[in-house]
């Protein structure tokens, strides 16, 4: 059993909604983001990007090199001649036949060919940004255009010779024969294909990087999601010893998986810094970000659900085709394949499952992880298909889910994809959600909307999520000379509020006041190893390590304190060391001060590494109501209820905030975020004038309720909450949209539900009615 209950007077400890310590600093301009921290006098880098989607190129940069203020102009040819790898590596997947997936070179700067609009062609370094841009305009690039391949399908104009038919990988998991047999024997088979539309991450802070020489060592600072992975990339590409590189992450304004991967600019800035012996900085503007940041989603999924005569799900097959863009990003081959598989069968007790994923190259920006990374996609198609199946089978969508839930008494449950779900009580969560969302009164609300000329629909998504990322993490607690405490962590806040929550851990376990604790993250010189942020891992992995380090501190200090108090032994409780039969107490900070005075320096630093024994599986029900204006096609999300099983909440307010943000991103994708390329591969939605970011005014009030079943896969009993909101939101909105339109005869509706697309559906329905 976990022991998390804080002392009653402890309002700042775990399970309390402690306010974010970061906010006053970040909201009043006190943040130190990458572009705020560049060394004085740093040179400015500027990337010249391809304006065409597919072409043979020749680059002539001599004129640019002579321009005022120019310190260096790098082309692909220059990198080829330099002692570096002109290639960003990827984690290569395995195909179904055991062969390796396609891994063509991904150059830092294009060599002979460009493959998407926005691809880096040259890198200019100058005294000022304006001079760098002027010089970039003087670079002559000849484009001999080639046919473009844009559809999310196998085939088309060849982009890489070593990826025939543009197939990157051919992934499969599960028992195909058993699944096909079960489908063949099923009483009913329901099939549904859904588009999972491409999005642009659009983090508030675009990507940026600067580098400087620290003596003989190279220091690279960029706004990422961790420092150790990129250090490996830098060492490989620059052919340097890791020990000669320091990597840091300053404050980061949103990452969402997009900033977890390496990009050419980081290496280009590092290379130029080393070459020139002077600091170099680069910051993307918004248009560059939209052209060059990893995109998300962009796949087409087909689900086949087999049911027996009692509407029990007996087989599930899912095939998807995933767009990877023009090159393999760092983890791209695993998102819609292996990570998708983690929750492919969702919350349903179905053992005959099989899935395939086919990755394809297109002449578009590369695609990789985006909040949820494979799990939102898996839940989207499954929950859209379950909802559709209920309609086809003529049963209530809530009942169909309930009938097929993994029963609460069958945990731990091994899914057909080999995941062991530790705990869960899906019927209880669903009951609560139906009550909180007042599903019983929906008919009355629908009638009210109809009276106002609006179609109203209600949609359910019951999602399950799998926490990912490195299960190991370390925490180091250091008592410093000024009487404070430094906590070194291996995770990396991108704005989530880690500092607040980690302080809560030490407040609870060591009785140290939060304002006495400094959290240090994101510096490879100060922290030996860490997993960064991603996969909703941070608080579970770091919190577990924090607890272990805190326990070790008490264990190490106890004999020393007993000696000071002149007793046999001491206990630690209610924030201090105490001895039985004595009224003397000593706080941890007092003990640390005494240890320093006594020269017991080994007590002052404690590092512990922990590894989670298993993954946790947050799950919950999202119930969404939408209204559609019949005259204009405008869809609005008007009511939204979430009941989540996140296990024990470390900070309920921050968990709820994560849900709000996640739901907003899900609603954004479902309603307004729409990436459009024209037929030549130009990105038409390359600014916020055309790319529909969700806005506060479009968001409903999101009701959040916790219905916890503590996880048994970590000592905290918690489940990660960073991505869950996104995982549940898309299908909830999609199912609500279909519910609103079903009676008009519509059967397939795909995101994004922009006004013009919904109006087109309404026209289709009218046409169908006319024809009938």
């Amino acid at each position: 059993m976990n022991d998390l209950t804080p002392a009653p007077q402890d309002a700042l400890g775990l399970s309390r909604s402690v306010r974010r310590a970061e906010d006053p600093r970040l909201l009043t301009g006190g943040g130190a983001y990458v572009d705020d921290t560049a060394p004085a006098g740093a040179l400015f880098g500027y990337v010249l990007r391809s304006p065409v989607a597919h072409a043979r190129v020749t680059v002539a940069a001599d004129d640019a090199r002579g321009m005022p203020g120019v310190q260096a102009v790098l082309t692909g040819a220059d990198l080829e001649a330099a002692d570096i790898e002109n290639h960003l590596p990827t984690a290569v997947a395995k195909n179904r036949d055991g062969s390796k997936a396609a891994a063509p070179r991904r150059p830092l700067l294009a060599v002979e060919r460009v493959r998407f609009v926005g691809e880096a062609v040259a890198f200019v370094v100058a005294d000022s940004l304006a001079e760098a841009r002027d010089a970039a305009e003087a670079i002559e690039v000849d484009f001999d255009e080639l046919p473009v391949k844009l559809d999310v399908a196998v085939g088309g104009a060849t982009i890489h010779p070593d990826a025939p038919d543009n197939v990157v990988y051919d992934y499969g998991k599960g028992d195909e024969a058993a699944t096909e047999a079960a489908l063949a024997a099923a009483h009913r088979v329901v099939e549904l294909t859904v588009d999972d539309n491409r999005i642009i991450c659009a983090s508030l802070e675009p990507r940026g990087v600067w580098a400087e020489m620290e003596g003989e060592r190279l220091h690279v600072c960029f706004n990422g999601q961790g420092v150790w992975g990129p250090m490996g990339t830098l060492a490989t590409t620059l052919r340097m010893d890791k020990a000669a590189i320091r990597v840091t992450n300053p404050d980061v304004g949103g990452g969402f998986g997009m900033k977890a991967m390496s990009y050419p600019e980081m290496v280009l800035v590092a290379h130029a810094t080393r070459m020139l012996g002077r600091p170099v900085r680069w910051m993307a503007d918004r248009s560059e970000a939209m052209l060059s940041d990893n995109a998300g989603r962009d796949l087409i999924c087909t689900a086949k659900l087999g049911f027996d005569a009692e509407n029990r799900l007996v087989a599930y097959r899912m095939d998807n085709v995933a767009n990877l863009g023009a090159y393999n990003s760092g983890y791209a081959q695993h998102i819609q394949s292996e990570l998708f598989s983690k929750v492919m069968p969702g919350v349903y007790d179905v053992q005959a499952c099989y899935m395939t994923s086919t990755g394809v190259f297109t002449n578009t920006t590369q695609v990789d992880a985006y909040r949820g990374a494979g799990r939102p996609e898996a839940i989207y198609v499954l929950e859209r298909a379950m909802d559709y199946a209920a309609r086809e089978l003529g049963v209530d969508p809530f009942d169909l889910r309930r009938r097929n839930f993994i029963a609460p008494d069958s945990f731990p449950y091994e899914s057909a994809m080999g995941e062991t779900y530790d705990v869960g009580d899906f019927p209880r969560v669903l009951d609560r959600a139906m009550a909180e969302a007042d599903v019983a009164s929906f008919a009355a609300r629908r009638a009210e909307s109809a009276a106002a000329g609006k179609l109203r629909g209600l949609g359910l998504c019951y999602y399950i999520e799998s926490i990912l990322g490195d299960p190991s993490e370390s925490a180091e607690i250091e008592f410093t000379e000024d009487g404070r405490v430094t906590l070194y962590v291996g995770t990396q806040s991108n704005g989530q509020g880690h500092e607040t929550v980690y302080r809560q851990f030490l407040a609870t376990d060591l009785g140290i006041a939060p304002e006495m604790i400094d959290v240090v993250q994101g510096d490879s010189d100060r922290i030996a190893k860490g997993g960064g942020t991603g996969g909703s891992r941070s608080v579970t992995t770091q919190g577990t390590a924090n607890k272990a380090a805190a326990a070790k501190v008490i264990e190490k200090f106890a004999p020393f304190v007993a000696g000071l108090l002149e007793v046999e032994a001491v206990d630690f409780g209610e924030g201090a060391f105490r001895a039985e039969g004595s009224n003397r107490v000593m706080t941890v900070l007092e003990a640390a001060e005494a240890a320093r005075t006594a020269g017991e320096t080994e007590l002052l630093k404690t590092r512990e590494t922990t590894t989670l024994p298993g993954r946790s599986y947050p799950n919950g029900a999202h119930i969404c109501e939408v209204e559609i204006d019949r005259e204009t096609g405008q869809l609005a999300v008007v009511k939204y209820t979430v009941v989540d099983d996140f296990g024990n909440l470390m900070n309920p307010m921050l968990a709820e905030g994560q849900v709000h943000g996640g739901v907003a991103q899900g609603i954004g994708q479902a309603v307004s975020e729409h990436v459009v390329y024209d037929e030549t591969g130009q990105l038409l939605t390359a600014s916020f004038m055309d790319y529909g970011m969700p806005r506060a005014v479009q968001m409903p009030m999101i009701a959040f309720h916790s219905e916890p079943v503590p996880s048994t896969a970590n000592v905290l009993g918690m489940k990660g909450c960073g991505e869950a909101g996104t995982v549940g939101a898309m299908a909830a909105v999609g199912n609500a949209a279909l519910d609103a339109l079903w009676d008009l005869g519509l059967r397939r509706v795909d995101m994004p539900f922009t006004p013009s697309r919904v109006w087109a559906l309404l026209q289709l329905a009218e046409g169908a009615t006319d024809a009938a």
């Binding site: 204009t632 405008q634 729409h674 939605t685 970011m693 013009s756």
Partner: protein, 263 residues
């Protein structure tokens, strides 16, 4: 942004003189021009900022009862002070966001004549008069197609005079990303007839919907609009936010809503 010379006249006379230079470009609130320049998609040798010219700012009522707005008056000022013409104040209050409204000007908007801008619909529907240093131009003659106006090179808008309708309303259906009008309609009912101006829809920029004007002049009701066919989709803008047929349809919907809302 490329280098340029910035001139900041404080009188209209100085501004007119500065704009005689072939290289000169007038700068109102800069809400269109500056982002375009920052993206290096526009350049001018000399920028003549009109924001310091006090005599072309502010709102008053003339002897004919018209609301007269100085060309360099911001949207925020119009929203706050054009109380004599509530539909126009409401139009101004819904342009962009607070930052845009505090910088952008009526003269800048009308001179640019973006096919999706709000003010052209208000000016055309209200039969406004566009005043420049040397002449007055009727709105019907002023708007000459997408980004085209009757203004000569270097000619600036000093004032816009709006006759006040008996009833009016501006109904805007926003493009989801930019929040410019995807289609917006300004309906203005005068004693001698109704004027209906549409923005966002046509590739020729703002236009008057003659059929709706005729129908509404004899029966000022939403029902009068519902009897009409939507305008021809042929000349409508077609883009990723909506094709011509959708925009034509929205013209009808927004016109009916504007009539309902008019007061």
């Amino acid at each position: 942004m490329y280098d340029f010379e910035l001139v900041k006249p404080s009188t209209l006379q100085e501004a007119v003189a500065a704009l005689k230079d072939d290289e000169a470009q007038a700068l109102g609130g800069g809400q269109t021009l500056l982002p375009t320049m920052k993206a290096r998609l526009a350049m001018a040798g000399k920028m003549v900022a009109l924001s310091g010219v006090a005599e072309i700012k502010g709102i008053c009522t003339d002897d004919a009862g018209r609301i007269c707005i100085g060309g360099a008056t911001t949207h925020a000022t119009v929203a706050r002070e054009a109380t004599g013409f509530p539909a126009l104040a409401s139009l101004a209050a819904r342009i962009g966001d607070p930052a845009v409204r505090n910088r952008g000007t009526i003269g800048g908007s009308l001179a640019n004549n973006d096919p999706s801008a709000c003010y052209p619909a208000g000016a055309l529907a209200a039969n406004a008069v566009i005043v420049t240093p040397d002449r007055e131009i009727a709105a019907d003659d002023y708007f000459q197609g997408m980004f085209e106006t009757a203004l000569d090179e270097g000619e600036i808008i000093t004032e816009v005079k709006f006759p006040v309708p008996e009833a009016a309303a501006y109904e805007k259906f926003i493009q989801p990303a930019s929040r410019f009008p995807l289609v917006a309609v300004f309906v203005a009912k005068f004693s001698d007839g109704v004027r209906v101006a549409v923005t966002g829809a046509s590739s020729d920029g703002v236009f008057r919907w003659a059929e709706a004007e005729a129908a509404l002049s004899s029966d000022f009701s939403a029902e009068a609009v519902s009897g009409l066919s939507a305008p021809d989709a042929g000349g409508m803008i077609s883009d990723l936010h909506g094709d011509g047929a959708y925009r034509a349809h929205l013209v009808k919907v927004m016109t009916a809503r504007a009539v309902k809302a008019a007061h």
